[in-house]
């Protein structure tokens, strides 16, 4: 049938977006590689598998209507946004997530990042057939032959161009290109890490700080603090007291109620911190306290955690009670170990 095939491009391990299905046609036959240093291997691979034509976007420009997909290596925000904005399916070899001024044009239907050659998959035969029948119906046989001829010509031309370029290329220019790509990669990794970090700070850390601050304000101002101090401080100053706290928090019915989001452990942590600062709890007790307030950690999350680990339903059935009962034993043990490990701390 059609000489064009489809490939599915999925995101890389740390990438974003996709999967995109790339199907060149006679109107859109170019896989444009806007990467510098010739045609990127991802672009070449897509072209080889689909029957499209890979071209170097820095050497030659084609109208956007004729582009089937654009392969970029953009660590910043410019190219990552420009092609999606033009309605061109964009494949980024760096693992960016959408950002920047053109953010609103980038979506999972037109952008995929972190892509390497192995993220390209051939599409199932039936799917290809289904999609190609629709496309090939309007064109008659003559047109197709001509189109094929034209395509072969174009392909040969591009190949010629490429080989000429390959010979002509100055070794110094090549070095600069390679170096530029490497540095660009390092910079993009740091930039993306920074972006992720700021997002985490805004989405996770700052809201909890706001919550803690409001709580602290209320506690210290109203005198609830004194009440809690009288209740918690004596418990947290002795090993026995902390063992009691850890045992209660590890009771299989109680622990899943205390665990969600570690909110209770975090609040109690803040309270104990305040009492340490006030001198009501000796600082070396901080270590056993960290374990005493947290024997319930994750007990609400066992089924989800096991599912993430691809466990069978039978394993989950057994695993939930196994973890809960284990905590009754290991919760207090953790406190005892931490208690002895705190000897010599801050003294």
């Amino acid at each position: 049938m059609s000489e064009y095939k489809s490939v599915k491009v999925v995101k890389g391990p740390s990438g974003w977006g996709g999967p995109l299905i790339i199907t060149p046609s006679d109107q859109q036959k170019y896989i444009i590689s806007v990467t510098g240093g010739g045609v990127h291997k991802v672009a070449q691979e897509i072209a080889d598998r689909t029957g499209g034509i890979a071209i170097d976007g820095f050497e030659k420009s084609v109208p956007k209507e004729e582009i089937a997909a654009a392969v970029i290596n953009c660590g910043g925000t410019a190219r990552s946004g420009v092609y999606p904005r033009m309605g061109v399916k964009t494949i980024n070899t760096y693992s960016n997530s959408p950002s920047g001024p053109l953010l609103k044009f980038i979506n999972e239907g037109n952008f995929v990042s972190g892509v390497d050659v192995r993220n390209i998959e051939d599409l199932e035969a039936e799917e290809i057939a289904a999609s190609s029948i629709e496309e090939s119906q309007p064109s008659n046989l003559m047109d197709k032959k001509i189109a094929q001829q034209l395509k072969e010509e174009a392909k040969a031309k591009v190949r010629e161009n490429n080989s000429e370029k390959g010979k002509k290329k100055n070794p110094i220019m090549k070095l600069i290109e390679v170096l530029g790509n490497k540095v660009g990669n390092v910079v993009s990794v740091f930039f993306q890490s920074g972006r992720d970090t700021i997002e985490t700070v805004i989405k996770n850390i700052l809201p909890f700080m706001a919550f803690v601050s409001a709580l602290m304000g209320i506690i210290t101002f109203t005198g609830i603090g004194d009440f809690i101090a009288n209740l918690v401080a004596p418990m947290a100053t002795s090993l026995i007291g902390m063992l009691i706290i850890s045992l209660v928090a590890a009771i299989p019915i109680v622990s899943p109620l205390l665990a969600p989001g570690a909110v209770i452990a975090q609040v109690v942590g803040v309270l104990i911190g305040v009492e340490i600062a006030n001198g009501n709890i000796p600082p070396q007790m901080a270590l056993p306290a960290l374990f005493a307030i947290n024997p319930q950690v994750g007990t609400d999350f066992v089924p989800v955690g096991l599912t993430l680990g691809e466990a069978e339903p039978e394993t989950i059935e057994v695993g939930v009670p196994a973890v809960l009962f284990s905590r009754l034993i290991t919760g207090p043990i953790a406190v005892i170990i931490a208690y002895f490990a705190s000897f010599g701390l801050y003294s």
Binding site: P13, S14, V189, S193, G194, D196, T197, I198, T200, V201, I205, M209, V212, S213, A214, L215, M216, G217, I218, F221, G261, Q266, V267, G269, V270, I272, G273, V274, I276, A277, G279, I281, P283, A286, L287, L290, F291, I293, V297, G298, F301, V304, G305, L306, L308, G309, E310, A311, V318, G319, A322, V323, F325, S326, R327, I329, A334, I337, A341, Y346
Partner: protein, 174 residues
């Protein structure tokens, strides 16, 4: 009237107090946190998930490594909650023990590597704030928290593995 003014001032005062706490947290903790998390995130990206996977799978055979280095790598590189996906490298009967072991580590690791669990920092940070206020350094506590955390995850792994094993056996017998 005086009573109302008193009440209003008290109301505002409560939030002024909270605001000061918030300001202290934002200026005192966030700058260092941002730089640290960025650096570690970059490191994790440079090393790459595949290399970690390959290395981690080698640690699953021996129970000491299985409940120390293996979950450590999971939590450090994949962070909470994606770290539990490492369970797929283990046979069914060890999965609950691995989960128990890994989840026990998501707080001890935050003392030195806050990137692993930024949403639940205050288990550590709440208590750490008290230590800082006394003018003591956090390093010794953070290090001991991490080391005891590793011992605890080993114990949890072993105990839960034994319990799971028993439960599976009694189930099959019944």
């Amino acid at each position: 009237m005086d009573f109302l003014i008193h009440l209003a001032e008290g109301f505002i005062g409560m939030f002024q107090e909270g605001g000061e706490t918030f300001m202290g947290l934002v200026t005192g903790i966030i700058p260092m946190l941002v730089v640290l998390i960025t650096a570690v995130n970059a490191l994790v990206r440079f090393i790459g998930e595949e290399r970690v996977n390959k290395f981690a799978q080698k640690c699953t055979k021996f129970f000491i490594l299985r409940y120390t280095i293996f979950p450590f790598l999971a939590v450090f590189f994949l962070t909470n909650p994606m770290c539990y996906t490492f369970g797929r490298f283990l046979p069914e009967k060890q999965k609950p023990a691995f989960y128990d072991s890994a989840v026990s580590f998501v707080h001890p690791i935050t003392g030195l590597f806050p990137h692993a669990n930024p949403a639940e920092l205050f288990v550590w940070m709440g208590i750490a704030a008290g230590i800082t206020e006394l003018g003591l350094s956090l390093g010794p506590l953070a290090l001991r928290f991490l080391l005891v955390g590793i011992i605890v995850m080993l114990i949890r792994g072993i105990v839960t593995e034994i319990i799971t094993d028993r439960m599976l056996k009694s189930r099959n017998a019944a």
